[in-house]
Amino acid sequence: MKSKILAMITALGLTLTVGSVFAAGELHVYNWGNYTNPEMIEKFEKMHGVKVTIDGYDSNETMLAKVEQGGSGYDIVVPGDYMIAIMLKKELLERVEPNKMSNFKNVDPKWVDVYWDEGRNYTIPYQWGTTNFTVDSTVYKGDVNTLALLFDPPDELKGRINMLKDMNDVINAGLRYLDYPRCNSNKAQLKELNEMLVKAKANWRTMDYSVIEKLTSKDVDLSQSWNGAAKRARKDRPELVYSYPKEGFTGWMDNVAVLKGAPNLENAKLFMNFMMTPEAAALTSNFANYANGITGSEAMMNADLVSAPEIVMPAGAPAPEFVPPCAQEVTDLYSKIWTNLNK
């Protein structure tokens, strides 16, 4: 018995150290689940002889909780725009200066001076998209480019609407519909917003993330949606039309960043430079179904992606708005509205 336990402890000790013995040629990527193209990773592994591990998270907040303590072992993370702002404030990201790397010339200039990383000293674009809604055009035949369909729907859409279960996406859409500014702490305006949302909710069927399932099962005829999900839903339900509301809409971008104290810093830099090649960006887009912000990648992207109205914005659409993280006071007010709405 004693020798068995001893053997077990030794075995455990061995497993503990294995990780650090082969650390020379490794790279540990922590990205959203089902968001990294294995082909792209294979290409990088072959190119630089580096062994890559990929793990997935389900939200920016989960990722933050895990890496905040340090020692997570990850090199690369892919946070959303507002999360980059938060992580920079907390000094969690390494200043790797991608703007001085050889492939930086491929980054579309419009994605260089962004609010979350002015001049790109820390991060590069991974994927970006918009948060709007998609409607069945055989059920509703009118103009889809207005938020009125969410908040004051015509009779044929009443009770046939799914909203994202996301505080910021719902509240920001509501603020745009009322033509009030984002990150709003004006009590009178928020009171009006609250009343408007409660009234609108009577016409909503569900508030849920599973947009594709809701739409393809014909549970609803309209759903608030990320553009990539809208495109995937259209594959099974061709009548769906993606809206670009005239009142404006949210844009988002996930970005490749290197964690402070990354165990494989040099490999992480190699990876970042690699991710700015049109080939890598195109592989990512083909897998994840979003646009990438790297010029020259379109030529290698799937044809259905380049022509998709969900991915390529029509000329007349307003520019997507990237909403920075709001002050705590505003978030608290929003939380109250959100809790009330979910009652």
């Binding site: 455990l12 000790g13 990780g19 650090s20 689940g33 089902n34 294995p38 997935g56 389900d58 599973s210």
Partner: protein
Amino acid sequence: MVDSTAAPAKKMGKAIDLKYQPGFSQIAWLCIAVLYAPIAVLVLFSFNQNRSVTVWTEFSFDWYVKAMNNEGIRHAAWVSLEVAFIAMVIATIMATMAALVTTRTAPYRGMNMAVGVINQPLMVPEVVTAVATLIFFAIIKQLTGVSGIGYLIAAHTAFCIPFAYMPIRARLEDMDLSLEQAAADLYAPPFKVFRRVTLPLMLPGIMAGAMLAFIVSLDDVIITLFVAGPGETTLPLYILGQIRRGVTPEVNAVSTVFLGLSVILVTFIFLFGKGKK
């Protein structure tokens, strides 16, 4: 044990046998439906031809093939089994020793406290344990520079112990001391008593405990989410990561395989337990 509980049960049987109360079978079937209908749907849609988990088109094995070829799923399944197996073995050994020392000795000071400490992971909210473990391990990692899957196994072992402990202890409490006393009376040394009398008698409890530990480790999400390091995504974590981008029937296929596995395991344990009696 048989005598003490069987007699009152018989007496009560005449007065109120639950099985013959009005509505018994209806309620029982309702409960069974609520518990198993979702699983039946999950299994059904793993054979669906299109990518939807809600709209049926036609029967196919496509998603099983896809799941088999998916490196991420294969790796996650392997990590899950590896962690669950090692945690099960260590937790069961520790739980067996703990159960012996809390039932087979004369009561001693601090025994109740020891039981409390062993069962602590059941009382503390899981997320608290998870965050505490995350911070604790982060400190150790930074101090020693040692990383690897050992941390995850250690965390799983810790919360598996009470699950393994409970059935083993229950079994030991049901076992009459007189057999062991008789063996000792016939000059069997303590270790021989343990090996020839106690251990065979408590084996069903150990098997039950080990299986419980294995299952609990296999489907843990919260602690794993916080503790798992690079390349240590378990199957539940893999599935969780899919939610934002849409779950595909690949997940149904893997879940069905794991379901089949646990059914086989339960059947095996059931037959094993029967044979012993």
